[in-house]
Amino acid sequence: MAYLSLSNVSKVFGTTTAVEDFNLEVEKSEFVSFLGPSGCGKTTTLRMIGGFEMPTTGVITLDKEDITYQSPNQRNVGMVFQSYALFPNMTIGQNIGFGLQARKSPEKVIKQKVNEMLALVHLEKHIDKYPYQLSGGQQQRIALARALAINPRVLLLDEPLSALDAKIRVELRLEIRRIQQAMGITTIYVTHDQEEALMLSDRVVVMSQGRMEQIGTPAEIYNYPSTEFVAQFVGQLNLLPVTQVDKVNGFCVLAGQHVKFDHSLNRTISEAPRLAIRPEEIQIGIGEGRNTLKGRVETVMFLGAVVRLRIDLGGASLSADLFNERSLTLPRAGDEVVISFPEQSCWLI
């Protein structure tokens, strides 16, 4: 039996179904992210694990114990909030020690644990400060330390980096992963940031409209999306209208040019089939044994590490991402180009 298990869990608010028939098994020390757009039910699912919402149906077990209807203060589950939720009236040390104090732990144990947690998040010098005296990133580290101080059975993080600026976000997510691996703590992480989910997680759950769309490792989710929603939500994707689809031989026509495809996402292809291909799979120039198409460059966008071209194929246009190198000679808007991509990298939706 899995360490944390959600079986047929659903949550209905009035007439709205926030989560529908959700099933998940998480192993001990695993890092699982819930990824999806706003309103997809990821936070509601997290809150049901934390005990802040009661499931309408289904069962939640943690370490073989049924916790479905347990109150949050009985679950021993640590939670980190987007707004940090540090107690403004308490110092950093008191904030971290709050959980142990609520458990009536001896003062000596509390002091030792507070110091240990502060060392873990590298904020030892701030023990006597108040939350408002720290930056956003520091406050979130303290919130993490506070949640970990009680030795929780599961750590829940609800979009913990959303309120921080980009640079701090990248730093802190590395730190979250480091701490999670060092402590071997089972972690559920809610985010709408695909990069965050792919980088941090052992497995990613992609959610949409209260349902689980796909669960898998970051590589599986990105390379083998099982639904159109996952394909579009995770990473960039070109969706190009095609005609004369030959499913048996894997051929179709895109903007009057023949394309060979390797596999389709769904067993059944929609009435208006489209060819899906990620921008980074496309190369400028002819490639041996690859699909080769002619087009005209519409725009060239310099994005730093990547240069994004918009190419008109004559009836359909697609994006192509080129890795930026100093030696790269970029085409200009209006130039005629030949593009190529392997048949394994495109599929029909």
Binding site: F52, F81, S83, I150
Partner: protein, 269 residues
């Protein structure tokens, strides 16, 4: 441009001066009058007589004690109610806010008659004993102070993220008692103090309810009695009660300045 600025500044100062005169002139006149207890001499004689009157001290003591009980009951009643409404019943907030404003609409005389009528017969005989009457007095004042207390506490709650703080405390293993007394109350310190001083100022000078329930024991009825019988002393009493109120207001300002921004600055930014 400069001339227009000057003109605007002149009018601003003129209106400020008119406003100030409107408030200061009657006050100055009262103060001036209170100093004329002896013909042809400016003296604090009226103040001396007031401070020497044992009824002044006994009534002010009585009203202070009643005010303190009113504050305690109000806070214990309103803080958990306002907190629970913000946390679990946000749709009821408008209704509760409306109810809390009723004391501004219903006159105190109606309230005190209602209290006497309901609580002087079976099954409640509260007006038969001193203790029962004091309980009624505190209850009446709790209603009277409701608009100030609810407003202050609700504004205080709006300044903190009640939901997240509660859930954070719960996830750390805290029970409701710990959450209310260690997390919510300390973060409402300024709001609670503001409402406490406003209640104090209201109760100290209240006349209608006090005169019907306890008569001359209250500071409000005492002021009224002095006003009917002693000309200069009543003016000095008016100035003293003004000073008392200002002292309370000053204390609110002092506490507000102290720690007002700790909760506002913490959190996501």
């Amino acid at each position: 441009m400069a001339a227009s600025m000057k003109r605007r500044s002149f009018w601003s100062w003129l209106w400020i001066a008119i406003g100030a005169l409107y408030f200061i002139l009657p006050l100055y006149s009262t103060f001036d009058f209170s100093l004329r207890a002896k013909k042809g001499v400016l003296t604090f004689l009226a103040y001396e007589r007031i401070f020497k009157d044992p009824n002044f001290w006994s009534t002010i003591e009585f009203s202070l004690v009643i005010a303190i009980f009113t504050i305690i009951v109000s806070i214990l009643l309103v803080v958990p109610t306002a907190y629970w409404i913000r946390l679990r019943l946000p749709k009821l907030r408008v209704m509760v806010e409306f109810i809390s404003m009723l004391p501004f609409v219903v006159p105190a005389i109606v309230l005190v008659f209602g209290l006497i009528r309901v609580f002087s017969g079976a099954p409640f005989f509260l007006t038969n004993t001193y203790f029962g009457t004091y309980v009624l007095l505190v209850a009446g004042y709790v209603v009277l102070a409701l608009p100030f207390v609810f407003r202050s506490v609700d504004t205080g709650l709006a300044a903190i993220d009640v939901q997240s703080l509660t859930e954070a405390a719960q996830s750390l293993g805290a029970n409701w008692g710990t959450i209310i007394f260690k997390v919510i109350f300390p973060n409402l310190r300024v709001a609670i103090l503001s409402s406490a001083f406003l209640t104090l100022a209201t109760v100290i000078g209240e006349y209608t309810i006090a005169s019907f329930l306890v008569g001359i024991k209250g500071f409000g009825p005492y002021m009224s009695l002095i006003g009917q019988n002693k000309t200069y002393e009543s003016s000095s009493l008016a100035i003293i009660s003004f000073l008392l109120t200002w002292a309370f207001m000053g204390m609110i300002q002092l506490f507000n300045r102290g720690k007002a921004d700790t909760s506002a600055l913490a959190g996501a930014r």
